[in-house]
């Protein structure tokens, strides 16, 4: 995930091919740490996944076969990816208008908005997640208000549903969407919007033909971050989603820490890695298409 973003930044920044050795040396500590603490464990994960028994003695890819031949695991993988896309769609829908408001606001209001956006990052994910239990619960804030106003006859079921989980994740992941989006939108030359309107384009046309395409890099980065973060949000998924919604992170936790089936846990972890990477690649590709369309 961070790689894809980093690569995007590098392209945008235009670092030439002639990076000298001295500059490489500066990156060396990070590179070594990356090799030791990410690439190394990842290789171990791949090797462990090839074993077929819990005692890790037999290499026969039995866990891969078990995983790939069971429709349940396909469903879990599908639901995990679906959760990612739903959260991306919801954060986009709520976040983009907010970004537009930010763009149009006075600097003092902008600072306030930025603070509100960052606020969720300043509290622990556990606290935020438990707060959502209080909000979405049967006797929670949403249900009390809705029933008090006579909108619903019985409490709505929000907690432990996909809808409730997406609502909570939208708030939890919002900073990841807005921060890249705001930084890119802030750099859009306001003259371009003025020119568009001066040339007779409506506000909507200006939005869709000028602002939106120019904000695409931020949009893509935001989508990638939100997708990766929401599909792997173990705490929110298990606490707000409950155990009837099974996603890959829950499966990985159960297999590795409850039943010690490390090979199956590795298979689930790699499946998560592969499916998230594939989805992120798709998002980036769409984004790049959009940008090419803009330059054409």
């Amino acid at each position: 995930m961070s790689l894809a973003v980093a690569a995007g930044v590098e392209r945008a920044g235009g670092t030439g091919p002639g990076v000298r050795w001295a500059e490489w040396q500066l990156a060396l500590p990070l590179l070594l740490a990356f090799l030791a603490f990410f690439v190394g464990p990842l290789l171990i994960l791949v090797v462990v996944s090839a074993f077929g028994d819990e005692k890790i003695t037999l290499v026969n890819f039995a866990m891969w076969r078990k995983f790939l031949n069971d429709p349940f695991y396909w469903k879990v993988t599908g639901n995990t990816v679906k959760l990612g896309f739903l959260t991306v769609a919801a954060t986009l829908l709520v976040g983009y208008p907010l970004a537009l408001v930010y763009l149009a606001a006075r600097p003092s209001v902008q600072r306030l908005l930025l603070f509100i956006v960052i606020l969720p990052l300043l509290t622990s994910v556990v606290v935020r997640t438990f707060a959502w239990i209080v909000i979405l619960g049967r006797e929670g804030v949403v249900n009390s208000v809705a029933m008090g106003l006579g909108l619903v006859p019985a409490p709505l079921r929000l907690l432990q549903t996909e809808l409730g989980l997406v609502i909570a994740l939208t708030q939890i992941e919002m900073p990841l969407m807005l921060l890249p989006l705001l930084s890119v939108m802030n750099r859009i030359d306001p003259n371009l919007r003025d020119a568009s309107e001066a040339l007779g384009a409506s506000k909507w046309r200006t939005l869709f033909r000028v602002t939106l395409p120019l904000s695409l890099p931020g949009l893509v980065a935001g989508c990638v971050l939100v997708f990766a973060s929401s599909t792997t949000a173990f705490i929110s998924q298990s606490i707000i989603g409950g155990n009837r919604l099974v996603y890959l992170p829950l499966l990985i936790w159960q297999e590795s820490l409850v039943v010690y089936n490390w090979p199956l846990a590795s298979v689930a972890a790699l499946t998560l890695l592969i499916s998230v990477t594939a989805a992120i690649a798709a998002i980036s590709l769409l984004g790049r298409r959009g940008m090419r369309h803009l330059h054409a």
Binding site: T57, F72, I133, R138, Q160, N243, L257, V259, Y260
Partner: protein
């Protein structure tokens, strides 16, 4: 292709080497011991009661590593040659895993001065009981009538207010086993539970992870659940309307035990630590608010518990975890598949 078990051990050790860097232990000036402890109430209680008591009695410093039972097993398995702590604290399931995988030193209960104050049979060659847990049904008396037994959970008015949790925890596993028994199952056959749950699943109020259950109950998301007495007393002390019921087929009891890690760095201090834990004063303090532990020392006078003395627990339902353990993985997988939407 087969790999010799030794290779696997070396392989895991290698894999853990990087992680091992993070597991450096403190260097003791005088004497110390590193003990794993359950996060949350155990961690808080031991920090405030056992830590000062051990320092006072033996001048030994206690360093605690907050880890759930299963995490302790996983960590010691991964770092076999340099165990990150000297003392395990485990529920019966993980205890059997630890014995089978050779993670414990042999335990000599004669080294404990307080051993005579424990009821018979609470110490063996692998470790000693330091607390008990009693599991039954908890309900909100303001919302639903008192259920009589496990079968009631699957009937109205309880089923639509029921909070379920699966086989990830000891209390969840034994509760489901008991439910299965009421419907014709046994310690090793939980099939009747799955048959029954399928019928009522759409009306069940919530299915949650173990850590979320107290919050779900507190927030009124469910008004009936199976849980231990400690959770009930803790929630009640926070003003939640909650009562404990012994099911008519009997409440479930299981013991939390301590074990000395194979290759422990401070075995002598480990015995001193365990001896302090089971001493009368410490056990009595652990039973009081806000900790509500069920003591293992029979000299402690019991307060606010479903039994009058510790011997009464011998009538409670017990389970043979050497039989349950091998089946648990299949049960967890089955639970996932049956309850998943």
């Amino acid at each position: 292709m087969t790999i010799h078990p030794m290779d696997r051990r070396a392989f895991i050790a290698g894999a853990a080497a990087a992680g091992g860097l993070a597991l450096t232990r403190p260097v003791w000036a005088k004497g110390g011991v590193t003990a794993a402890i359950y996060p949350g109430s155990w961690d808080d209680a031991y920090r405030s009661i056992v830590l000062p008591a051990l320092k006072r009695a033996h001048d030994v410093d206690l360093d605690m590593q907050p880890l759930f039972a299963l995490d302790q097993i996983a960590k010691v398995k991964a770092a076999r040659r340099a165990p990150p702590f000297d003392v395990f604290v485990l529920d019966p399931g993980p205890r059997v895993t630890g014995i089978n995988d050779g993670l414990f030193e042999k335990f000599d209960s004669k080294k404990l001065t307080n051993i005579s104050k424990l009821p018979e049979g609470l110490a063996d060659e692998w470790g000693v009981t330091v607390a008990a847990q009693v599991v039954g049904i908890a309900y909100n008396p303001k919302k639903v009538p008192a259920p009589k037994g496990w079968a009631d959970l699957f009937k109205e008015p309880w089923v639509s207010r029921l909070g379920l949790t699966g086989f990830q925890t000891t209390y969840g596993t034994v509760s489901i086993v008991e439910i299965a028994k009421v419907f014709g199952g046994s310690d090793t056959n939980v099939e009747p539970f799955f048959t029954e749950i399928k019928k009522v699943l759409p009306s069940v109020a919530s299915v949650g992870g173990p850590a979320a259950m107290p919050s779900l109950f507190q927030q009124g998301q469910c008004d009936v659940m199976y849980t231990n007495t400690q959770t009930v007393t803790t929630l009640r002390s926070r003003g939640v309307d909650i009562e404990f019921v012994k099911p008519e087929t009997g409440a479930i009891a299981f013991f939390t035990t301590m074990h000395i890690t194979k290759g422990a760095a401070e075995p002598a201090n480990a015995y001193k630590y365990i001896d302090t834990v089971i001493s009368k004063d410490v056990q009595a303090a652990l039973m009081k608010a806000p900790n509500y532990f069920i003591p293992a020392n029979k000299e402690v006078e019991l307060v606010d518990l479903p039994m009058k003395n510790l011997d009464e627990m011998s009538q409670y339902v017990r389970h043979d975890w050497s039989k349950l353990n091998p089946l648990r993985e299949g049960w967890i997988e089955r639970f996932n598949k049956e309850v998943a939407k």
